[in-house]
Amino acid sequence: MNPAIKITNLSHSFGKRNVLRKLSFSVEKGDFFIIIGPNGSGKTTLMKLMARILKLRKGQIEILGLPSSSYTPKALARAVAFVPQRLPIDLPFTVGETVLLGRAPYQGTLGFESEEDQEIAKQAMKFTGVDRLAGARLGQLSGGEQQRVFIARAICQEPEIMLLDEPTASLDLAHQVKVMDLMENLKTEKSITVVMVSHDVNLAAMYSDQVLLIKDGEIVCIGSPSDVLSFPKLEETYGCKLLVDESPHGGFPRVTLVPGRYLESEK
């Protein structure tokens, strides 16, 4: 079986700055795959290359067994959906209209929606729990609700792979869990392969099947959460003292920051 995404020798640079250097890895179908790494490690660039928002220059990206460059824009949008880090919350449409935009890859140029499109949009809003907000404007919603609206919009693309760039970044604790649970449901109930960039190593530990740790555009480590997070280089990669133990809930690795004042006394 082909992996969902197969990346071979991927490099990318902005001007003279090399952002990604010769990355190779695969994302298996049906996995919850989380990419972690310090700021500026190239996570977002990697994700944008997978979504083909940035043009591939060096290396190969295969989506579902085919080179990503062989897809037409619409065909790619039917296979891969993308939720960016910064959402266009100034969009003048209602929640319902915004979610319906996700049907574009299946529609004609003018995007006249069929009954089926309406139904799919409705189900997607139910799935993410925003169906009661259908008539509201995006600007009136909370950050967590906005995030779920755009996830519903992505679900409307009926993708096999969903890419999300830090969907929990600006959310409070309750909304973080809600969005992550939702991602997990996407995987289990809709068998969508979820690839997510995150800053939060603990969320990665709790939810992911595979974790990719990158720094300076290179792979530091890839594997199960317990492999990667117990990895001795985790501290070195992030450049700070960390405490890794086991969570009493579920036994996944738990990473705790160590404040600077405790470092002094240890010396």
Binding site: I53, A77, F93, F112
Partner: protein, 336 residues
């Protein structure tokens, strides 16, 4: 969802139907009013062909007022549609051909064409088009950068491009011989009075394909409001759509500029008003801008012809008097 909102096709048909009536009413009003009189009844008689074909009113209506009203419709439609397209592409509600300086650029091209003694079509239209594409490229270069164009930098570069264009226009005027001067100056202020029915026909022939192309891309404009990245990830070929829309709208704006000069703010006022009434969906807004913008300029021209006690003033004066204050109000509005 408690009540099911009407489908987009239904909204499209209702909006177009309603505004079509408005256009007819506006054009009829434009034909009926004028210094040479003629009551509504006798005007109706002329239009229905029940009057004496040799009468004065017959000639005035068919040869002067009707071409002028139709020209105003076409120009108003084009300018407000142009505003709508630029607003969607630049994600900035203040974008408009005149404010961005694109009209100014095509004016330079057009004046150069007039000075070279070219015919209005295709000569002057072509030089106007070249001028508008050049300014468009200039604006895009000036405001290009990492992020989405910022409101301020876009407006500032528009102001600078406009200032530059006016000085070039002034230069061209200062080296012009007297005979051509009157022509150019009147034309600069947005002059609809030179229309004859054949020219209006040629202009319509150039504009209608542009309208169709833009309508064809109306849903892409909806998707592009999400930003380039998300639009692309939803299956839009951003490059192709952006270039098609920019070139099409620059072409149609420069076509109208080459016929009737600079008429400002129509592309600001109409899309804004129509958005308030009909909502943000471009599949409705494109036909609404064509029909609504057309009606608007016919009315503005009607006011320009009838308000002064003697003679008339250019329609551009009216549109600017209405448009400029609205621009300031929009600029002050928070959260844009």
């Amino acid at each position: 969802m408690t009540t099911k909102p009407p489908s987009i096709v239904t909204r499209l048909i209702w909006t177009s139907g309603l505004l079509l009536v408005v256009v007819f009413a506006a054009v009829f009003a434009g034909i009926s009013a004028g210094s040479s009189g003629g009551g509504l009844g006798s005007v109706l008689q002329v239009i229905l062909g029940e009057s004496d074909p040799d009468s004065m009113l017959h000639a005035i209506i068919w040869q002067i007022r009707l071409p002028r009203a139709l020209l105003a419709t076409l120009v108003g439609a084009t300018l407000s549609l142009g505003g709508l397209v630029f607003q969607a592409l630049l994600r900035n509600l203040l974008a408009e051909p005149y404010i961005l300086g694109i009209s100014g650029g095509s004016a330079i091209g057009a004046i150069a064409g007039i000075l070279l003694g070219l015919s209005r079509f295709p000569g002057v239209s072509l030089t106007a088009f070249i001028g508008s594409i050049a300014t468009l490229a200039l604006i895009l270069v000036m405001t290009s950068g990492r992020s989405v164009m910022k409101k301020e930098s876009l407006l500032l570069s528009g102001v600078m491009v406009n200032a530059f264009c006016s000085s070039v226009i002034m230069f061209l005027i200062s080296v012009t011989q007297d005979a051509k001067l009157h022509n150019i100056i009147f034309w600069l202020m947005g002059d609809l009075s030179t229309a004859d029915i054949r020219q209006v026909g040629i202009l319509a022939g150039m504009l209608f394909p542009c309208f169709v192309i833009i309508f064809w891309h109306s849903h892409a404009m909806n998707l592009m409001l999400m930003g380039k990245e998300m639009a692309q990830a939803t299956g839009i070929n951003i490059k192709v759509v952006t270039i098609t829309l920019l070139v099409t709208s620059s072409f149609m704006v420069s076509a109208t500029v080459s016929y009737c000069g600079l008429i400002g703010f129509v592309g600001l006022v109409m899309p804004h008003l129509l958005r308030l009434i009909f909502g943000p969906d471009h599949r409705v807004l494109v036909p609404a801008c064509i029909l609504g913008g057309g009606s608007y300029l016919v009315i503005c021209d009607l006011l320009a012809r009838t308000l002064p006690q003697q003679g008339e003033m250019p329609a551009g004066v009216i549109t600017a008097i209405i448009g400029a204050p609205l621009f300031i109000i929009l600029l002050k509005k928070p959260g844009r």
